[in-house]
């Protein structure tokens, strides 16, 4: 160990060691243990096992194949066979070996790693002298509920067992609990923690006015009952489930699995007990008479990647998916990694190579096999519609009867000819529609000649019909889209043409900003009618109804020329197949809007669209007994090298399958949530703890095995685990229990003394303080600026992203079409998640890619994050919106700035904050006065002619101020 010269003073060098040990706590080397080692007894779990794990067991551990010299040191029997003589360190070969500096004799060998430190050697010696007792790794022994200890801080703990455990630790470290957090900050903290959203001003005020536990509890209950709660905690679960809206690998095409994401949100909101939550996701299909929702739950494990690249072996990628499922299962529920055992017996934890494949056999019996169509799938209607297939069928039956009795409003007109200006050719089909084919000009005008029979025609209808020659879509663009800029109707011929203007227009569907009225505005321009539906895309028939300004009166017959103009700003946005009808009913557009035009037919058509657009969600389906797969040990992990045949069982080191549990996935699910399972409850409470306190009681949430960190509060995590099980795996109860503690309610302010003893706040002598997660960073900014949509559930959305086009090998990739309207401002959990290219928000703020289960995000602090919150389009929009409400909040820059700070931070603004920002405002304002155009752009008022220049300048300067507020450390931190 290098000790720098300026620390040669013995007192100080002790400090250095202390620092190094603190930092080296990874293997459980807490200072306490080191100090204790000097004159107290030895603790195997915290002191000896880490030494053995780090230096010895990778060659002298459970892995028989990799074992050197046929010697194992991880068990008493193995160690005492030769190298260790209990009670006699001097006769123990292991001591000679670790002390030796002879090449080839010293352990560990040079190429394996450094020699043991003096201190480690001393510990080993003491341990052997004391009898070399082994203990089972702490997390493999089922937890028991210890009595909460008492301490000098009992009053602070107030009888709360969690606080009592924490208090005892605080006391033992010579620390004291911190003051309670300021009321404003506490309510903001608890709201962000429980719902991922800031609290309302009203909630903050209520607690500030009456800062009692009763009021706090009331607010906590409100937060737990709010819809935001489920959306927030589901986001955590999606990381574990490696959820994405695409299949992964090279092609990475779309996957419809968002209904499962909604299932998770609902499960959290309904406070589904964690044991049921487990069973439904792992084995919902094996429940007796599973409901639609229980089947949907099993999509959890269909979030594995699929490889649709040509030339890939389905079996190879099926095997990879199955292996990922067992890695994920064991990691999520038991906090252990099994992946090592795929190729060889685990070097550290008690899972053998064979046991891995025995466990795999449970999961090897589902029907899915990396097929391109993702089968098996379930047909599903989005539950928010509150409709089932049966109901829908019944409704359609009824609607058909009604439609049959309804007089027809429209007469389809047979075209005589169709031609184009730029080269599209046409075929007139039997149903009188006109199909575009052949050459695909970027822009084209379709001219259709129709023989109109006698009548007083009041309106024209254009149907856009999906066709299989256009990928079953309505348009000819690669995406299936079209944009009709203008529709013109003329009678007569040659220079006798008479144009018939339209006075009104309606459509059964139009995209926001692509109003059908654009087609009758008399101008052929880039504006027009487009029909991409958020759920049905471009694969449904659409129609536009146009009212003639004056009726088109035809005495005998006449030629009507309908011209359809396509002049979109994008290439190839031409329509694919169209049909023209006329009506004698007056003002059809108006009547359609009032639902007075063919209401029964319309209803029927809508129901049929709905029935066609059920979702196909990949789920689990167990193979029939006759088709069960045989499972073999894969030699060195290769599916091409089958070894011994194995059958399903759980690793021996843990509890057996519960009595009466079936030997299938259901059995595994029940095994995981059995009271005998030593890990599931611990891992679960630790996960929730970590989200609230910033770090788990076991810091390595993903590793409760011998290589993981030891718990900072062993008795506490065990107490929580048992309590959680005893109280019905009630997640809301657990979270409430945690946020009600005095521990949680402490201030995050640290004094120097506390910092000195507990720099990382491992002993919880102050409140948690850490940067918000990716989702919350975005959602909070939208929320405080007033932009956040509260729309829930449904297909993923596409908020603004600088990555407009995502290319993938072998496929066309995708265009990121930014969502319109409120979908632009939904919570981050609804953002479309493309595996190969997630929205930059996510990877910038530490979300690992969603290829494998990710148990914990490693929090970082990078300039790329600064770029995002400073410059990203959404964050700028938030600043503009906030600036506008700041300016509306009263008179004068002081008031505006104060409002901005208080809206964002939910606490009174401090005078230095106001002064700093008022100065920034004043300074920036004068800059913008000399930059009129910049002021318009910065304030977001370029198109708002009603906003005067003075106001634009003020709002621009306030946008800069708001941008600062939304980047404050105290804003980004919970």
């Amino acid at each position: 160990m290098i000790v720098p010269k300026y620390f040669s003073n013995p007192v100080v060098s002790c400090g250095v060691i202390l620092i190094l040990l603190l930092s080296g706590n990874q293997c459980g080397w807490s200072v306490e243990n080191r100090i204790r080692a000097a004159d107290h007894e030895i603790d195997f779990g915290s002191q000896i096992r880490p030494i053995l794990s780090r230096h010895c067991t990778s060659c002298h551990g459970p892995d028989e194949e990799g074992r050197a010299a046929n010697f194992r040191i991880d068990t008493f029997d193995g160690a005492t066979e030769s190298a260790i003589v209990p009670g006699e360190p001097d006769d123990s070969e292991v001591m000679e070996r670790v002390r030796s500096d002879e090449e080839g004799y010293r352990m560990p060998p040079h190429e394996h790693g450094d020699a043991l430190s003096e201190e480690e050697i001393a510990l080993l010696e003491k341990w052997i002298a004391a009898g070399a007792e082994y203990e089972k790794h702490w997390s493999f022994v089922p937890p028991v509920k210890a009595d909460p200890p008492s301490s000098e801080f009992d009053r602070w703990a107030g009888g709360n067992p969690i606080d009592s455990f924490v208090a005892a630790k605080i006391e033992s470290k010579g620390l004291s609990p911190a003051e309670p957090a300021e009321p404003h900050r506490l309510i903001r903290r608890v709201a962000l923690d429980l719902t991922g959203l800031p609290p309302t001003q009203e909630q903050v005020q209520r607690y500030v006015d009456d800062p009692t536990t009763a009021t706090y509890e009331k607010i906590v209950d409100e937060l737990l009952a709010s819809n935001g709660y489920g959306e927030h905690w589901a986001a955590m679960w999606l990381d574990l489930a490696r959820y994405a809206d695409s299949i992964g690998y090279a092609e990475d095409s779309d996957r419809t699995i968002w209904p499962w994401r909604d299932w998770v949100i609902r499960a959290f909101n309904q406070n589904m007990p964690y044991d049921r939550f487990t069973i439904e996701q792992l084995a919902g299909d094996l429940l007796p008479k599973p409901t639609e929702q229980q089947l949907l739950a099993t999509a959890f494990h269909r979030n594995t990647l699929s490889n649709s690249e040509g030339g890939t072996s389905d079996e190879e990628f099926r095997t990879i998916a199955v292996k990922d499922r067992i890695s994920t299962t064991v990691n999520v529920w038991m906090g252990l990694t099994m992946r090592c055992a795929e190729c060889h017996t685990h070097k550290y934890d008690p899972i053998s190579h064979k046991e891995y494949y025995q466990f795999l056999d449970f999961f090897n019996q589902t029907e899915d096999s990396d097929k391109n169509d993702e089968r098996p799938v379930m047909k599903l209607f989005p539950p928010e519609k509150g409709i089932t297939r049966e109901k829908l069928d019944a409704q359609i039956k009824l609607a058909k009867v009604e439609a049959a009795g309804e007089p027809k409003a429209w007469k389809v007109i047979k075209p005589a000819a169709a031609f184009s200006r730029q080269g599209t050719s046409f075929k007139i089909l039997d149903d009188h529609s006109v199909l575009a084919k052949g050459k695909k000009p970027n822009r084209d005008d379709y001219v259709i000649r129709l023989e109109v029979p006698a009548g007083t025609w009041q309106g024209l209808r254009l149907e856009a019909i999906p066709d299989k020659s256009h990928r079953n879509s309505v348009g000819r663009a690669p995406t299936g889209a079209f944009l009709i800029s203008e529709i013109r109707a003329e009678t007569g011929s040659g220079d006798q043409l008479e144009r018939h203007a339209f006075s009104d227009a309606a459509a059964d569907f139009q995209q926001p900003n692509f109003d059908v009225k654009n087609v009758i505005d008399g101008v052929v321009d880039k504006k027009g009618w487009a029909v991409k539906h958020p759920e049905h895309g471009l694969k449904e028939r659409r129609y536009a109804m146009l009212d003639f300004e004056k009726p088109l009166i035809v005495k005998e017959s006449d030629v009507l020329t309908v011209t359809i103009f396509h002049s979109a700003p994008w290439n190839l946005f031409t329509s694919g197949r169209v049909r023209i009808s006329l009506t004698t009913i007056e003002q059809p557009a108006q009547k359609f809007r009032a639902n007075q035009l063919e209401p029964a037919r319309r209803k029927l058509a809508e129901l049929e669209v709905e029935r066609r657009n059920f979702l196909k969600v990949p789920i689990f389906k167990e193979l029939p007994v006759s088709k069960r797969r045989e499972t073999y040990v894969n030699i060195r992990g290769s599916f091409l090298q089958p070894g011994e045949k194995v059958s399903a069982s759980v690793p021996k080191a843990f509890n057996p399958l519960p009595e009466g549990a079936p030997k299938d996935r259901m059995g595994v699910a029940k095994w995981l949530v059995s009271p005998d399972n030593p890990l599931t409850a611990r891992v679960t409470v630790n996960r929730f703890w970590a989200r609230l306190f910033g770090r788990g009681i076991v810091e390595t949430e993903e590793d409760f095995g011998t290589q993981g960190t030891l718990p900072t509060h062993l008795e506490l995590i065990d107490w929580l685990a048992v309590d959680f099980q005893q109280n019905g795996w009630d997640v809301k109860r657990l979270l409430k229990q945690l946020v009600m503690t005095s521990t949680y309610r402490q201030t995050g302010v640290a004094d120097k003394e506390t910092l000195a003893i507990d720099p990382r706040n491992e002993y919880l002598s102050r409140g948690p303080r850490f940067r918000l997660s990716a989702e919350v960073v975005r959602d909070q900014a939208l929320a405080v600026s007033g932009l956040l949509s509260d729309k829930r559930y449904g297909p993923p959305v596409y908020p603004p992203s600088p990555i407009k086009r995502i290319t993938n090998a072998f496929t066309g990739g995708m265009t990121w079409d930014v969502s319109e309207g409120e979908d632009r401002y939904r919570r981050a959990i609804y953002t479309y998640l493309k595996r190969s290219q997630p929205h930059p928000l996510f990877d910038t703020f530490d979300m690992a890619t969603r290829e494998v289960c990710n148990m914990r995000r490693l929090r970082t602090n990078t300039p790329l994050q600064s770029f995002m919150t400073l410059n990203d389009e959404t964050f700028i929009e938030c600043a503009q919106k906030l600036a506008s409400s700041m300016r509306d909040s009263g008179d004068g820059s002081r008031q505006w700035v104060k409002t901005g700070l208080e809206t964002a931070l939910l606490r009174p603004a401090k005078s230095h904050e106001i002064e700093t920002l008022v100065a920034l405002y004043t300074d920036t304002k004068s800059d913008f006065m000399n930059a009129a155009k910049d002021a318009r752009i910065m304030s977001g008022t370029v198109d708002q002619t009603d906003v005067e220049q003075d106001q634009a300048v003020e709002r621009a300067a306030l946008t800069v101020v708001a941008n600062v507020i939304l980047n404050l450390d105290s804003f980004l931190t919970h």
Binding site: A250, K752, R760, P802, E851, P863, L864, V964, T973
Partner: protein, 498 residues
């Protein structure tokens, strides 16, 4: 901050120097000594009264760290030809294969083999191009690479690489992240994690993509996975912002940005005083770094600053993104001290199913797109005296078969995926120039001499940079994760170094 206890102050400095998590990990790594020496160095700087500059250094986890062993190279430019170029047409010259052109492949070669696309008995396919010997070293190089051939004496050509993956994504993942499945950390992330970077105004690991598509395995090829995300490759884009969000929003001048950051920092400073949270200090410094990057990034990415002669030598055109531009950018980045620069060029998957992926149209097109820029890069690095410190690597993710693929009776010529042997070359960075290593059999079907598994290649690259591939590790999920995988068999191939 004025702490009474120097040990605590030391801790605080440390917390500033690296994210806490990172340090905790570091100390476990055998890199502990590195972190420690870094720590001492920072303290020493602070003590020597260098003041804020020293502090600024300390807060960035990308500060240069001393190598673990004597380094031969400081930087890497890795040119990955995604899809995998056919070695039989480029570097692995097989006259025997010419003789057997379009004869059925001997059955014994096919026994027990699976191919991605080849079915039945394929025909052998002689090289479709001519070869000649070049340079004093007389290395065989294809006529398709007339410019690179002029650098024959700089190239260390390894003909005996092999992998065990024959689909693009898993093979790319294995090569770049050490794990054929997703979830590994990329080589560039490992290198910046181990060594930091020389320029604190730019990311330490930068990636550029050309050829019209992302490589099959996507961004995971330059991801950080379990390593802190600060080490992930930052992709520079050829249109829009070169780095996402580097530009101020429209309407905001740099002057206003400066003023707003001053205000922000002032307020954050007060927050720091109240809460004493080292993360706040880090955040203040990251905003400052971001501000500096706003100048540094567009500057370094602006190739129009290069002379006309340089642009012409690369065939670069500032107006449109290309592999040539990326080669020039690679030099500019390395010149600025970026540790690891990686280029992915799509379009090398020469199956021969149609004109867009065959040996007669697509392959010459890809050669033409890359030959001149790569040669220019080597010359440019040499002229600037940078080649000796820069390890340039060229290659694909696997090899291609000596047989014609002939998928569905295709009339176009092409080769299927082949994991058993492939060629890569390196230049600069202390490798032997004018040197060829490893041999394949007379058909170029399997390695017969000096085989180099991809894990040896990874170990060798890390070693060249002064990292010990066996010791560079990171504890995650119960294992000390390493780029080279859990087994100790991967070897540094000393034979490749001068």
């Amino acid at each position: 901050m004025n702490f009474l206890n120097p040990a605590i102050e030391l801790y605080q400095r440390q917390a500033q120097a690296l994210t806490r998590r990172h340090f905790l990990r570091n100390c476990q790594l055998g890199l502990g000594a590195v972190a420690l020496s870094q720590l001492m160095e920072d303290s020493a700087l602070a003590d020597s009264g260098k003041g804020p500059d020293a502090n600024r250094q300390a807060e960035n986890p990308l500060v240069p760290k001393p190598p673990m062993v004597a380094p031969r190279a400081k930087n890497v430019i890795y040119l990955h030809m995604a899809g995998s170029p056919p070695q039989h047409e480029l570097f692995d010259y097989k006259p025997t294969l010419v003789k057997h052109h379009l004869q059925p492949c001997p059955e014994e070669l096919l026994k027990g083999k699976t191919f991605a696309f080849i079915k039945g008995t394929p025909k052998l396919l002689g090289p479709t191009v001519k070869f000649a010997q070049h340079g004093e070293s007389r290395q065989w190089i294809s006529e398709m690479l007339p410019n690179i051939a002029k650098h024959a004496d700089d190239l260390c050509i390894v003909k005996s690489l092999h992998t065990d993956q024959f689909n693009h994504a898993p093979a790319q993942l294995l090569l770049h992240t050490g794990n054929q499945q997703f979830g590994g950390s990329s080589m560039g992330a490992w290198v910046t994690y181990g060594l930091g970077s020389e320029n604190q105004n730019l990311p330490g690991y930068m990636v550029m993509v050309s050829g019209g598509a992302m490589p099959s395995a996507g961004k995971s090829l330059w991801g950080s996975s379990f390593l802190p995300s600060v080490y992930q490759g930052v992709q520079c884009r050829s249109s829009g912002d070169p780095i996402l969000f580097v530009s101020n929003p429209d309407g905001m001048s740099r002057g206003i940005r400066r003023k707003s950051l001053d205000a922000l920092n002032r307020l954050n400073q007060r927050e720091l005083e109240q809460f004493q949270d080292p993360e706040t200090l880090t955040r203040i410094n990251q905003y400052e770094l971001a501000f500096r990057m706003q100048t540094a990034v567009p500057e370094v990415m602006d190739i129009s600053r290069e002379s006309k002669k340089t642009l012409e030598s690369y065939g670069a055109d500032p107006a449109k993104g290309s592999f040539a531009n990326n080669c020039l950018l690679a030099r500019r980045l390395v010149e600025q001290g970026v540790r690891f620069v990686q280029l992915f060029d799509w379009g090398w998957d020469i199956h021969g199913t149609a004109k867009f992926d065959d040996l007669e149209t697509q392959f010459p097109k890809k050669c033409k797109e890359t030959d001149q820029p790569i040669a220019a890069l080597l010359s440019d690095l040499k002229e600037r005296g940078m080649l000796e410190d820069t390890l340039v690597i060229w290659g694909g993710e696997f090899g291609r078969t000596p047989m014609n693929e002939g998928r569905n009776g295709s009339k176009f010529l092409g080769r299927d995926h082949h994991p058993d042997c492939f060629t890569m070359w390196m230049a600069g960075g202390g490798v032997k120039g004018g040197f060829s290593f490893g041999e394949t059999d007379e058909l170029g079907y399997k390695v017969v001499e000096d085989d180099v598994p991809v894990r040896d290649f990874q170990a060798t690259v890390l070693h060249a940079l002064g990292l010990d591939p066996h010791k560079l590790h990171f504890p995650f999920q119960g294992l000390n994760q390493r780029l080279i995988g859990p087994a100790n068999s991967p070897k540094v191939r000393e034979e490749l170094f001068a």
